[in-house]
Every structure is written in C-alpha cells, then in structure tokens.
C-alpha cells in the first residue's frame, strides 16, 4: 500500500502545477474556470439558453454550427454593448467574465431568433 501512495501524490502535484500554468482565453488560470459554464451554439440555438453563475465567472460560448453566429449582449435591435463576440465560425469560441450581479440577455446578431440569458448572482 505504501508503495502506491507516492505515484498518486505526484500526479496530484503535477495536476496542480499544470493548472497553475494553464490560461483561459481571458488570461485566467484554467483550473479556476468551471467546465460547467459553457454554452454551445448548436442548431441555431444557445444551449443552454439560461445560465446562472456567481459573479466573477467566465462563460465560454462555442459555435458548433457550420455558419457564423455572434454573442451580442442585449436584445435584437438594442445591443447593450456589454459584450459582443463578433462573428464566430464553426468551432471558434468566445469568453466573457461576468463581474457584476444582474441579468444579461444576449442574442445572435445574424439570427435574431437565437437568444439566451446569463443571470449573475
């Protein structure tokens, strides 16, 4: 039993070191980015279209469709300016860190029927 403990400890240390060195698109350590805060742009929908996160969370959107989408804060016709990914083609990602509490609706500027909302607590 004693002989198996050290390799496991080494793996944990290595994982911690790798996490400290990794970076997200926002420059935040990858280990601090929750994997659950991900939204897929798929089938002309944001999935999930409603996300609730604590302040300080970075959300990542990934385009799975074979056409450009945007992640634009606000409502169609009235963008809020809080964030705008610009056109993202298939497999491209966009990240945004939500620092303040509130509700943040967003939409795709190319396909106004695509809408989502992030609620920050």
């Amino acid at each position: 039993m004693r002989g198996t403990r050290t390799p496991w400890l080494a793996l944990v240390v290595l994982a911690a070191v790798a996490g400290a060195c990794g970076r997200s698109d926002d420059g935040e350590p990858a280990a601090q980015r929750p994997a659950a805060n991900a939204v897929s742009m798929s089938g002309f929908l944001f999935k999930p279209d409603a996300l609730s996160v604590p302040a300080g969370t970075t959300v990542t959107w990934t385009n799975a469709d074979d056409i450009a989408h945007t992640v634009t804060a606000g409502m169609p016709g009235t963008p809020s300016g809080a964030f705008d990914s610009g056109n993202k083609v298939k497999d491209e990602t966009f990240t945004h860190t939500f620092s303040t509490a509130g509700s943040f609706p967003y939409f795709c500027n190319n396909h106004n029927g695509m809408r989502g909302e992030v609620t920050v607590t």
Partner: protein
C-alpha cells in the same frame, strides 16, 4: 390553437388519403394493383410537408397581392394565416427532429418572410429593396446550414440552392403583381408552389433514410 393548426394539416393529409382510397375504387384491377400505398409514415410526412410548403407559397402570394393593392385588412388577414402556416411547419419539423429543431426553425422561417415583406413594401426605394434581396440571398445560406445541420445527407449548398429557387420564384410573383400582370403573377405563383414539391420530396427522401426506424 396548437391542436387547431395540427388539425388543419391532418385534415389535408386525411383528405388526400381518403381521396386516394375512394378514387382507387373506380380504377381497374390492374390500376388497383399498381396503386401506391399512401398510409405509410413516409407518405403521410410527404403529404404533410408538401401541403404545408405549397400553402406557404399561396398564402405569401395572397399577402403580397393584398399589400401591393393597398388592402391593409386583406394583407393582415393573409399575414396572420401565413404565420399559422409557419407555426404548423415548425411543428412538422419538430415532429421529426424534436423540440429544439422546432424552436430554432420558427424564428428562422419567419425571418425570411420579414425580408419578403421588406421587398414588397419598398418598390419605390431601390436601396431598401436591394438590401431585402441581399438579406434573402444571405438567408439561403443560413437556412441551408440549418437544413444540413438537421439532415447531414442534404449538403449545405444543395439545401441553399433549393431555398434560393423558392426565394427567386416568389420574387417573380411579387414583381409581376407589382406590374399588375396578373396572368403572369398567377402563372409564376403556380411555378413557385410546384417548386416546393421539389423541396418536400428532397427533404422527405433524406429524412426517411436518416430515420429508418420511424419510417420503415
């Protein structure tokens, strides 16, 4: 409301099936043997989709004719019926591909109707009309991507081409209506409606192959 809309398509499909059955009685024995089955799921889907897409064209033509004729009440009534048709089409899509596809389809489908309205309402404003045409052509790529995403066997470009022909045939109708050439407008309307048969056939053929367990 949902039941009413589904009921309209179901009624149309049923009438076709009953008509086929009743007509069959008047045929010879050889004709009966050769008569195709219209009760299988794929045939029902084809009838439903075909009826819905052709209804879309005729209602769109009715709406644009009323709009160009300055008949506001007529336009609004036709536009309301056209939207009922859009909802019914989205439900037909959902019946095959699920709730997410239904949810995504409806706003996409409605958007191209909006561009058609923009075109129809701006014969005196070339810049706005040109933008509407540009939006409609862009829409063909969008809807092509949507169809390809739902039905991978239908290439994005092929789906876009089918939608493009729909757009252009409908534009021919509107242009003829604007010119008050009603003979040409109605002839173009039949052409536009018949083209929808190509779309429904292509889609159902691919859908049946994609979901053999549903349409065996």
């Amino acid at each position: 409301m949902r039941k009413k809309i589904i009921g309209r398509f179901a009624l149309a499909a049923t009438l076709v099936l009953v008509g086929a059955a009743c007509g069959d009685k008047a045929n010879t024995t050889a004709d009966k043997a050769a008569a195709p089955s219209v009760t299988d799921a794929s045939s029902v889907l084809l009838v439903t989709l075909d009826a819905g897409l052709k209804e879309h064209v005729y209602l769109a033509g009715l709406a644009t004719e009323n709009a160009l004729g300055g008949r506001k009440a007529g336009f609004e009534a036709a536009a309301a019926a056209l939207d009922e048709n859009s909802v019914a089409l989205s439900m037909a899509i959902g019946s095959v591909f699920g709730a997410d596809a239904e949810k995504a389809f409806l706003p996409l489908w409605r958007s191209h109707i909006g561009f058609v309205v923009d075109y129809t309402s701006n014969f005196g404003n070339k810049a706005v009309q040109d933008k509407a045409v540009s939006d409609l052509l862009g829409y063909t790529e969008t809807f092509g991507a949507f169809l390809n995403g739902a039905i991978p066997a239908v290439p994005k470009t092929a789906a876009a081409d089918l939608v493009k022909t729909h757009i252009l045939t409908l534009k021919d109708v509107i242009d003829a209506q604007q010119a008050k050439d009603y003979v040409k407008a109605d002839s173009m309307l039949r052409t536009a409606a018949h083209h929808m048969g190509m779309i429904s056939s292509a889609l159902v053929d691919a859908i049946v192959k994609q979901f053999p367990e549903k349409f065996a």
